[in-house]
Subunit: 257 residues, 2 copies
């Protein structure tokens, strides 16, 4: 029995470790990731079918310098790792990033702190996601709750739009946003939706507890299931009959309040 | 002689009028422009070669309701009007927009007022231009100085990224930015560059005169010739070693100070 339990724990430990890695793909993207001084690389994955190319040599050299394991795969196995055969160009990398972690890890390490987070609820446009990450990373945001479901995921377009800040941004992974929000609320975190109909103005909203600002989908806004979990909502007043702001602009206005 | 002078004046008057029109093209774009209650349309231009289509009927009906002249052209003449044969889809419209004017007109009508303008110095990306217009229109910006040279111009991509706010935004046309800035400076307007190296923080900068904030190119920043004309420069402080913000985000932070 003890052995089984130890095996389970080891499995969970291992799973947590792999869940904490960010896999990126594409030659230019992997090269840029390796050139960023703040990234650590766990494994470099290469397709056996790759033809020799200068950029591949650069990638391999940098990966070795950073102490990565280099693994060669057949094309199919590589596309299972990258999850994007059409764009991986025979290269993927598992990165360990300072700012990239599971949300419950963040919650454990930051209790009783007065953090400010953004949570994304259906941000589909990769350019918007990249811009949100860039602004949040530059501004006063302690983490971006990025659910695996229903949002754009980190891909070369997002990385480009983020101007490379993805590699140092505080990204908090979760599977499902409502579940994560419930966990944060249990610890006393205020969950606040951005909504054009809210009575309170963002500028006048100064929560005295840690707070998560929820940014909704580009056209639909915050989803009903998430809206129900919000205990506050705020709006940004607008002139000239403009009905809404771009979601990345909204994120920036929160990050630079 | 008198007749010559009157002819010249009439010509200049006419030129000013046509310069004050915004020509848009593309079926969906023209339809959306006509559907916006704040737009007036002077002329609708249609290619004689257009095959019957429901959207063309809608466009013509709306144009008539708004009192526009409808003019039919051969394909080549239409593309000289739209200046984009590849994307005009046989339709162009000359719009009269409340907020769209020549910069010297604005200058004449707003002297001694404490306005805040944005000026664009090499913003090439249509999505950025659209987002800047949307944020400026929603926020506290009295005009966007948009030089014809060296910037993206109003096209269907820009209009889409602006979420249609182009039709009501305060857009100030000029040919050449340095020339316009000199004219504004003569009237006591402060010209302020956004620059990551500036000693003063945007938040601490509170000019007691009308002010133009100059936003530079996405990678190069403000051009040297424009930088020389600026009598102030400010920066937005950034965390995590991020070097710059997206230009549309910077515009939004100024618009919602």
């Amino acid at each position: 029995m003890t052995n089984d339990r130890e095996d389970s724990l080891a499995y969970l430990e291992k799973k947590r470790f792999f869940d904490s890695l960010m896999t990126v793909y594409g030659r230019k993207t992997v090269l840029e990731a390796l050139q960023d001084s703040s990234t650590f690389i766990y494994r470099l994955h290469l397709a056996k079918s790759n033809k020799p190319a200068g950029i591949l040599d650069e990638i391999s050299t940098l990966a070795k310098q950073k102490g990565a394991e280099i693994v060669y795969h057949d094309r199919q196995a590589l596309s299972r790792i990258s999850k994007n055969a059409a764009q991986d160009q025979g290269v993927a990398a598992d990165l360990q990033l300072r700012g990239y972690q599971l949300y419950d890890e963040f919650l454990r390490n930051n209790h009783a702190k007065n953090y400010t987070l953004l949570a994304l609820d259906g941000v589909h446009n990769p350019q918007n996601l990249g811009m949100i990450i860039r602004s949040a990373c530059a501004g006063q945001i302690d983490g971006i709750l990025l659910p695996q479901k229903g949002n754009a995921q980190i891909d070369p377009l997002v990385i480009k739009a983020s101007a490379g800040t993805v590699f140092r941004a505080p990204l908090l992974r979760c599977k499902d946003l409502p579940e994560a929000l419930v966990d944060f609320k249990k610890k006393g975190t205020v969950v606040c939706a951005l909504s054009s109909h809210a009575p309170t103005e963002l500028k006048k909203f100064t929560p005295d507890a840690p707070c998560i600002y929820v940014l909704g989908n580009e056209t639909e806004g915050v989803s009903p299931v998430v809206a129900k979990l919000c205990n506050e909502s705020v709006r940004i007043p607008m002139n000239n009959g403009v009905e809404s702001l771009n979601v990345a602009v909204t994120a920036a206005l929160i990050a630079f309040r």
